[in-house]
Amino acid sequence: MSTIPTPAPQEAATPIVIVGHVDHGKSTLIGRLLYDTDSLPDGRVAQIIESSKKRGLAVEWSFLLDSLQIERDQGVTVDSTRIPFRLGTRQFVIVDAPGHRQFLRNMITGAADAEAAVLVVDANEGAQEQTRRHAMLLRLIGIRHVIVLMNKVDILDYDQQKIEAAERDVTALLHQLEIEPTVFVPASAREGDNMASRSDKMPWYKGPTLTEALAAVPAPSSRADLPLRLPVQDVYRFDTKRIVVGRIERGRIRVGDEIVIGTQGARARIATIESWHTAPQVAAVAGQSVAVTLEPDVIPDRGDFLYPASAAPLRAARIRTRLFWLRQEPLRVGESFRLRLATAEHQITVAAIDSVVRLEDLTEHPAEEVPPEGFAEITLAVSETMLFDPFVPGTSDGRGVLVDRNQQIVGGAPLIGVAESVAGRNAIHPTGSAVSLWDRARAKGHRGGVFWMTGLPGAGKSTLARGAETRLFSRGIDVSVLDGDTLRAGLCSDLGFSEADRRENVRRAAAVARILAESGQVVIVALISPTIADRELARQIVGEGFHEIFIDTPQATCEQRDPKGLYAAARAGKIEGFTGIDAPYEAPVRPDLRLETANASSDETAARLAAFIGDEIRLDEAAQRQKS
């Protein structure tokens, strides 16, 4: 019998990802670190020396990692590698992420679960494209503990001023991403300065060496004390029992706890926690894969969250997300995917591209599409109401992933929050069109758009709308008019003039305008829409391409024209709540176009309106060339 005691329970290894631009020295850093901390298996160092000699090079620490033949032949790391590594009693796993652009997805594969990152920056070259890209990813996958290693400072002669100047540039870059680096370590991986031992060439540097900085990485925070989230992974029927299995993402369960199930909101108690070859369990915590029975014996679906009634997730059918797009082709509005969130899978359509990150300076801009392997904020329309928690770094909350029809992952989509609902209702099931706005615009020779005319009754909205319509149509533009009275005669015939009905009238007009505009048409809406809130609602519903046009006619003129006799009727007390008489009209503060009609003929004004619309819907020159 052995007298050796069973080893004490150990902490799980802390994963650390190494990122940075190609050739800034990631692999060298790792090789050197393993060598300095005596973490290499016997024979491995000899292998490196032999391999380096064979290729006529000085000792090449990176050969340790570049274990695939193709990598050594090309001198680049193809895929991420994981290397166990120990500092004192603490176990780490180093994840090496490649710097080459086309291998982005491998980097994410390696980095997504890391506790901390070492961002390697060549102090001579400063931040490069991959530096920015990797830093952006660190932010999007939620790694906040970032150690910046300013490498190759031997080439700067260990000069304090030069090194600190380089640090300032990197600080500014990370600041834009709201990343606060934990520490900057000036180092030379090749020479071993400030790696595992303090460099004697930089007496001015008082901060930690790389190994000291790694040892100071905090242990992952426990998720056990947060409200319960148990996504259902599967439901088994073994013998006579129905067993619900899944991994507790946060919080804990106890036998007897009452929980709510998924969007249907059924309630049940945890009746038992089932297990095999363990002591009987009455409780389990975040991180454990569990099997439970429920009382009453309700049947959840895969993807349903079990959660406490006191702390429900958010519920929405339109969700704003950040996106890291992993495809080599662009992403456009209207494309459909599946959104995976924990074990759930939802059909989604890209409803809007809210902004796209320009990698040169990490600023956000409006754009028609997300470029290949780009970063963006987008709005997803989900085919049904779904439950989610917004993304929080260091937890599994809100870790959305987009997959295509072939179940291939095409992007990461950390969920930010509920997007403004287009229709104010959640039970919508939008499907995307395979024809993009851009395709339509190219075919028609102009963009679609919504030109929303507001003004007092009798201001001349309908007359001007029809005049502009005729002019635009004669120029070959696909244009139509949605006029208040026409709408009320059909689509809105069920509506009266109460505040709620007026608002609904606006909502319907905007929704129809959006559909027409999305089909590539130019839509002129002529609707009193008296309040700022009305027009704001319309703007939200229509989204991009909404133009507010104020038909500015003095009330006296309107009342004098009174083409429908409405002012007279209102004055006579026959109409209640008539805009301008006993209901207010809020003029636009900053309309896209203001048309004063009092001193111009309606022909002239209609021509001005048509000219304005013509300018707004013009394709730019690049697009024109593409068309021809």
Binding site: Q10, Q69, V245, G287, S289, S396, V401, I409
Partner: protein
């Protein structure tokens, strides 16, 4: 939760994903320590059952103790065992070095079984720390037509979301032990009391650290006769686990070539 609890929970999660998403599914049982741990984890995931068949791709050259172990535990653990044989070495790519060529028989045998049972998923017990090429693996590793591993074009895999392509002729290798290290396996064997073939324990100053075919596996010097002694020995060991596997050392790329073709 300590590190073994975390590894166990993650492996159970992976096995349940595979069972849910890949049908038909089977688990490779090489009779070694890793695949025994994997079977044990499956029984944990499915509450004492193994709800899919286990496959032994038999080269015909395993140690007698291994065949004995297989027959004993197939019964004890109530396993549905699928057996497959391997083509003779003469049928294998003659440009491979001798030991790799011998090992490649198993690849051919496995390919034949995957085709015969039209498997969508094959669970295998490889670990990242065994060999540098295995370190590149995904948890769910799609294999294209001809079972080829396209190492340069692997899918992204993060946040516990796995690619599960469904195309004719494709299958997915599932690797629930990818994050385990050799010493974790032994500590888990100790904690759970998982039975192993005796060859892992020292006789006359030698034991097998890794078990393959008799002709291409050699024992290492050791006096460890119990699981606890093996753990103590590994904590001070500085040689690689597969040092006793001949095909890993024949040329720089022999093992990678094996894996691209579908070797585990």
């Amino acid at each position: 939760m300590d590190d073994l609890d975390q590894l166990e929970a993650q492996s159970i999660f992976i096995l349940r994903e595979a069972y849910r998403k890949l049908k038909p599914l089977a688990m490779l049982w090489s009779l070694g320590k890793d695949s025994n741990v994997m079977l044990w984890l499956a029984r944990k995931a499915f509450l004492g059952r193994v709800p899919f068949p286990v496959m032994h791709v038999d080269t015909g050259k395993k140690f007698p103790e291994m065949y004995q172990f297989r027959d004993e535990y197939t019964k004890k653990w109530n396993l549905e065992l699928l057996l497959g044989d391997c083509p003779p070495v003469e049928d294998i790519d003659p440009t491979l070095p001798p030991a790799a060529r011998s090992a490649a028989r198993k690849t051919a045998g496995l390919a034949a079984m995957i085709d015969r049972y039209k498997l969508a998923g094959v669970i295998a017990g490889i670990r990242r720390d065994e060999q540098a090429t295995r370190a590149k693996e995904r948890v769910f590793s799609p294999r294209g037509a001809g079972h080829k591993w396209d190492v340069r074009n692997q899918p992204p895999e993060f946040w516990d979301q796995y690619a599960t392509p469904h195309e004719p002729g494709m299958h997915v290798r599932v690797h629930p032990l990818l994050s385990w290290r050799e010493i974790d396996i032994w500590r888990y064997v100790e904690r759970e009391g998982i039975p192993l073939v005796d060859l892992y324990f020292a006789k006359d100053g030698k034991r097998y650290r890794s078990l393959g075919d008799q002709d291409i596996t050699s024992p290492v010097e050791s006096n460890a006769t119990t699981v606890a002694e093996v753990i103590a020995e590994l904590e001070t060991s500085r040689t690689s686990e597969r040092a006793g596997r001949a095909m890993d050392h024949e040329s720089e790329d022999a093992f990678e070539r094996l894996r691209v073709a579908g070797y585990l």
